[in-house]
């Protein structure tokens, strides 16, 4: 590379002043109108043009394609006949079984029972966990005292509470709800606390400078600022509710406990009917996905987009 050194050697001979960009020392506009024009020019150059939010079909079509591919692979595997058909039913067998369950009314009953319980349990968990979480986040001694316990409870699988709940409450709905609470409440509390922790300290300082009182600070600044963390706590809380509910329904069957998806799964096991088991698993999964897609995803997307936190993510 013989030609390279020449321009490099020439560079220092340039006048020093022209190689640096300096802010002007004197007024750089000629009057109010000139300033307004320059500014609005810069504004339109530098800020994003309004982007339209079109429906992105790849978001809809890619997951569907993935699903279809999985079902095809499943069907292909079953048609190879490696395992007995009653041990590994194919997608068509499971679909037929769902049709049977639908006609018996069992499918509707179990989905309705479980969803209703899951949602009621979740809503009550939110109502309990939110004030507790705010209190713990704002009052340091309380948090020091109870924080580790709550984190611990979040790690403890809520199935572990099922035997205790059965002994205390018998085979009633109270057992199911108790297990849901033990699963959902700690994770919502933790989500809210970490949401408050992640608030940039600058926000509180701005609040102080603007003259916010303690209550105004909590309601107008802390709470909205913590919303993204709170929301992911809620999401996790729902997941824990749903899992705990299934665990409770599988283990605690009979008594006055109604017939939910977990009960359906357990029934399939007792009858050794693999197509019922598969149908129940798919239904449990479907409800989970549906709630995520229809409830949490739109809320989260709106929240993050309105704060400019979505750009660059692969969602």
């Amino acid at each position: 590379m013989p030609s390279n050194p020449t321009p490099l050697a020439e560079a220092p001979s340039e006048p020093v002043e022209t190689r640096h960009v300096h802010a002007a020392l004197t007024r750089s506009s000629t009057g109010r109108e000139d300033l307004r024009e320059l500014e609005s020019g810069l504004d339109s150059l530098q800020s994003d043009a309004d982007r339209k939010h079109r429906i992105d079909w790849s978001r809809v079509l890619l997951p569907i394609a993935a699903l279809v591919a999985l079902v095809l692979i499943w069907q292909f595997y079953v048609s190879l006949g490696v395992k007995r058909r009653d041990l590994v039913p194919g997608p068509l067998d499971v679909a037929a079984q769902m049709g049977v369950l639908w006609n018996e009314g069992k499918l509707q009953e179990s989905v309705w029972t479980s969803m209703q319980r899951g949602l009621v349990g979740f809503v009550i968990s939110v109502a309990i966990a939110t004030p507790v979480g705010l209190l713990l986040a704002q009052v340091a001694p309380l948090r020091r005292a109870f924080g580790p316990l709550i984190s611990g409870l979040q790690v403890l699988p809520s199935v572990a509470w099922v035997p205790a709940a059965i002994i205390w409450f018998g085979l009633t709905d109270a057992t199911v709800y108790f297990v849901i609470f033990m699963g959902a409440i700690p994770s919502i509390i933790n989500g809210l606390i970490s949401g408050v922790d992640q608030i940039p300290p600058q926000y509180r300082r701005v609040g102080t400078v603007l003259g916010a009182s303690r209550l105004q600070m909590a309601l107008q600044i802390i709470l909205p600022a913590a919303l993204p963390g709170y929301l992911s706590g809620l999401k996790q809380g729902w997941a824990f509710s749903w899992r705990s509910l299934m665990a409770a329904e599988i283990i605690a069957v009979g008594g006055t406990i109604g017939f939910g998806l977990g009960s359906l799964l357990d029934q399939g096991r007792q009858l050794s009917d693999m197509s019922v088991v598969m149908a129940a698993i798919l239904l449990i999964l479907a409800v989970g996905i549906l709630i995520e897609l229809l409830v949490f995803a739109p809320i989260e997307k709106r929240l993050l987009r309105s704060r400019g936190l979505l750009s660059g993510s692969t969602r």
Binding site: A23, T26, L42, Q46, L210, L227
Partner: protein
């Protein structure tokens, strides 16, 4: 005198004092540029004036209703639009709802953002955000406005324009402004007086007056910049090992 600082000192914990024997008087309607190297205690001094921190020694006199404050990063709340950010400042000042709307629009127009009021902070450029932040600090309606390197993160073109803008708004509103910067040119461009703060400990070691001629005569302004830069460098060199 809206601001009087007397023998002001500040140290954190039992470390060496950050500020020591700072003395200054700032008159009503004055525009003072507080200049110093990074880490010399400029923000600390400003926080003390704003009441965000207490001095360790000495006394200070500031307006009883406190001061408006503008931060280096705009520090706008991302869940509010530009207009709502300004309205929040009015609300926390207990301005009635009907009045808030009109006042917020008026302030948006003052910073030439009359049509961008419904945008969220992330949709605005850095310069626009700082103008919203300026409008918000004006919404506080305090005589004293403290600014902590508000334009440091902006590009040169935008900064030049915001200097013009700030000068215009200062003249229109008659505020007393204490403007902190580590940039000598910015200090000369904006201040009527430039106070130089030394490092470790921070103390006002010299001050210069900037006249109207400096605003239009680049040669004169350049000369003064050179003098102040030389003094600042001397101050920094003192700490060489």
């Amino acid at each position: 005198m809206p601001v009087v600082l007397e023998h002001l000192g500040k140290s954190f914990g039992d470390g060496a004092p950050v500020l020591d024997d700072v003395n200054a008087n700032i008159g009503k309607g004055e525009f003072v540029a507080l200049l110093g190297a990074s880490g010399c205690g400029k923000s600390t001094l400003l926080n003390i004036m704003a009441g965000l921190e207490a001095p360790s020694s000495g006394a200070l006199e500031v307006p009883s209703d406190g001061a408006a404050f503008m931060f280096q990063d705009a520090a706008l709340f991302p869940w509010l639009t530009a207009r709502e950010n300004i309205e929040l400042a009015l609300k926390l000042r207990n301005v009635r709802k009907a009045e808030r709307k009109a006042k917020a629009q008026e302030l948006l127009e003052l910073v030439h953002l009359g049509t961008a009021g419904d945008k969220r902070p992330h949709e605005l450029s850095g310069g626009m955000r700082q103008r919203v932040s300026l409008a918000r600090s004006l919404a506080q309606d305090r005589q004293l406005l403290l600014m902590d390197e508000p334009f440091a993160a902006l590009d040169a073109i935008t900064r030049d324009l915001l200097h013009d803008e700030l000068e215009r708004i200062w003249k229109e509103t008659g505020r007393t402004i204490v403007f902190v910067t580590h940039n000598v040119r910015e200090a000369v461009r904006l201040g009527q007086r430039v106070l130089l703060l030394s490092s470790r400990p921070g103390r006002v070691v010299q001050e210069w007056a900037v006249t109207e001629e400096h605003r239009t005569d680049a040669g004169l302004a350049g000369q003064l910049t050179g003098v102040i830069t030389a003094r600042l460098r001397e101050e920094i060199r003192r700490h060489a090992k």
